[in-house]
């Protein structure tokens, strides 16, 4: 199971059961904790629906009580190829 976190201004941005593109950071323990990826994913407020879990922070870092289960569908590459 992976632990993820997302920053949003409003929890309403996190629509359920459809494909979303989000910038997530990993909360898995280890030296890479808090690094980000841009991903396509699906969310559900049913915490048992997907294996991975997502917690939410609001605009100024406040932890939101909303929790989701999440399925990461794949990484989105925003970095132009010339920098790779």
């Amino acid at each position: 199971m992976n632990q993820w976190e997302v920053f949003v201004n409003d929890v309403k941005e996190l629509a359920e059961d459809r494909e979303l593109e989000l910038t997530l950071r990993t909360l898995n323990p280890g030296i890479h904790k808090f690094t980000y990826q841009r991903v396509k994913c699906q969310l559900s407020s049913d915490l048992a629906k997907h294996v991975d879990q997502l917690q939410v922070r609001l605009g100024r870092g406040q932890l939101s009580p909303s929790r989701f289960s999440i399925r990461v569908l794949g990484e989105v590459q925003r970095l132009p190829a010339k920098y790779l």
Binding site: F7, T23, G61
Partner: protein, 482 residues
């Protein structure tokens, strides 16, 4: 006492003076180190030198490097007990003196080259990048550092302290405000051309190099450090670009600023004492090479409520640079001071009020200068008021500033997204508004009949009575006055 040449010499000097403590037990890079630094700032306690960091054997942290005037005095090679305004006078003397150019040393003599990571080995997570405050948008690599760039046309070098968040193993996002030197170079040149801008971030600098990186001085920083230290700064060429970095720095990150790649930055605890500026797409830095000293120390500034170096050092240098500017314009100023607790929002200017409108003239120059976006209040008092004594300044403000004639407001001026009181719209577009508090008696008042007499011990009693009372104070039965 010589000014410490490196962060290491500075840590030792602070420990010797009782102004830093060695923490031997392991601390966690996630929140714990940040919380220690924050508490040290809020208590004005000695700076924490944390020798053992969870997950990062061989690295250490040095926090709150310049959050007290004692440590600022040590940084300048002065007696730690030196106080304001003497520290300020020393800064003015050194920065008004001869320019001292840096020297470039051989790579093999540069401690910052002891370890070099290139290619697939480049991973910012190999460095103990701290999560400074719980709820920050990320782990911040650059909180007490210098971002080194060279102007693409003029060729002059800029070192600026612009916060940098680790986005992923090779990417950082930073807050470089549009009115800063780097912000102007990016907006004028690199962004319109779509060209990437070479940069190097130096972390764990000598305290004077860090002071130069956040001083709003027109003198290029490599020379400013030399002038502050009284000897040339030692620089070394980067591995992957033509920039030169301080050879004694603990950690160097080399790379390019990408005009066409945007990632999110923030939120972050800021010098105003709040997390104000919104998470946003700012400036993106790609890291191509990391070099660092053996047993490298990462420096941490933890900004929040007073007092940290964001407030103390910036108040210090903003005030003194404004004093230089006003004097260069012939304004009869007697001193300029920013109280760190104002989170460098209020300039207090002492002036000989020899002509009318001088308070507004000072305000217009201050707000119209390069320093202007960083503060929004200018309070002008006369030369009889001690600008360093808040009790006196506050009394002058509350009693001499006319609510209608003494308060002058300027709208639509440059601001920063960090102003806690600014509207969301103003923050988004860095729009400011400013105010001058004129606490001078109007020059057209009759000095004998209209200007009130200050009723104080110093002002209303004849000198011989004052001397007698002072001489007999203990005899009257009072304890000595500290």
């Amino acid at each position: 006492m010589a000014a410490p040449r490196s962060n290491r010499e500075f840590v030792e000097a602070c420990i010797a003076a009782g102004d830093a403590v060695r923490i031997k037990q392991e601390v966690d890079w996630e929140n714990e180190a940040g919380a220690i630094v924050r508490r040290a700032c809020e208590l004005a306690a000695p700076a924490p030198f944390m020798e053992k960091i969870k997950d990062y054997p061989g690295f250490s942290y040095f926090g709150a490097p310049l959050s007290t005037y004692r440590r600022m005095a040590i940084a300048l090679g002065l007696d730690p007990a030196t106080r304001l305004p003497e520290i300020g006078k020393e800064y003015l003397k050194r920065t008004n003196g001869e320019v001292i150019a840096p020297v470039v040393i051989d790579r093999k003599d540069a401690p910052c080259k002891e370890n070099v990571l290139r290619g697939a080995d480049v991973d910012l997570c190999r460095l103990p990048v701290p999560l400074v405050h719980d709820g920050d948008g990320g782990r911040y690599v650059g909180t007490w550092h210098a971002v080194v760039t060279r102007h693409p046309v003029r060729g002059d070098v800029n070192w600026g302290m612009y916060r940098q968040m680790m986005f992923d193993s090779r990417t950082m996002s930073g807050a470089v405000f549009p009115f800063s030197d780097l912000g102007k170079a990016l907006n004028d040149y690199y962004l319109p051309r779509g060209e990437s801008c070479p940069f190097a971030t130096a972390i764990g600098l000598s305290p004077l190099a860090a002071m130069a990186a956040c001083a709003p001085s027109p003198i290029p920083e490599p020379e400013l450090v030399g002038m502050l230290a009284g000897e040339p700064a030692r620089l070394v060429k980067c591995e992957t670009n033509d920039l030169e970095v301080p050879a004694d720095a603990e950690i160097i990150l080399e790379g390019e600023i990408c005009p066409d790649y945007k990632v999110e930055e923030g939120p972050f605890g800021e010098y105003t004492g709040y997390r104000t500026s919104p998470r946003d797409f700012r400036v993106t830095f790609r890291v191509n090479c990391i070099t660092y000293r053996n047993n490298a120390t990462m420096t941490i500034s933890n900004m929040g409520v007073p007092q940290d170096e964001g407030q103390l050092l910036r108040s210090f240098s903003l005030g003194l640079e404004l004093e230089k500017l006003l004097k260069s314009q012939g304004i009869p100023v007697t001193g300029v001071y920013m109280h760190p607790r104002s989170t460098h929002h209020m300039m207090i200017v002492g002036v000989k009020p020899t002509y009318s409108g001088v308070a507004q003239q000072i305000g217009q120059l201050a707000f119209g200068s390069k320093l202007g976006p960083w503060f929004h209040m200018v309070m002008v008092v006369d030369d009889q008021t001690d600008i360093y004594n808040w009790d006196e300044v506050y009394h002058a403000f509350c009693t001499r500033c006319h609510p209608e004639n003494g308060i002058h407001i300027y709208r639509n001026s440059p601001g920063t997204p960090l102003y806690p009181f600014a509207t969301p719209q103003e923050r988004k577009y860095s729009i400011g508004s400013k105010v001058v508090f004129d606490c001078l008696w109007p020059t057209d008042w009759d000095k004998i009949n209209d200007v009130p007499t200050l009723v104080s011990f110093k002002n209303v009693y004849p000198q011989h009575i004052q001397d007698k009372v002072l001489a007999n104070w203990a005899a009257y039965g009072y304890p000595p006055v500290k």
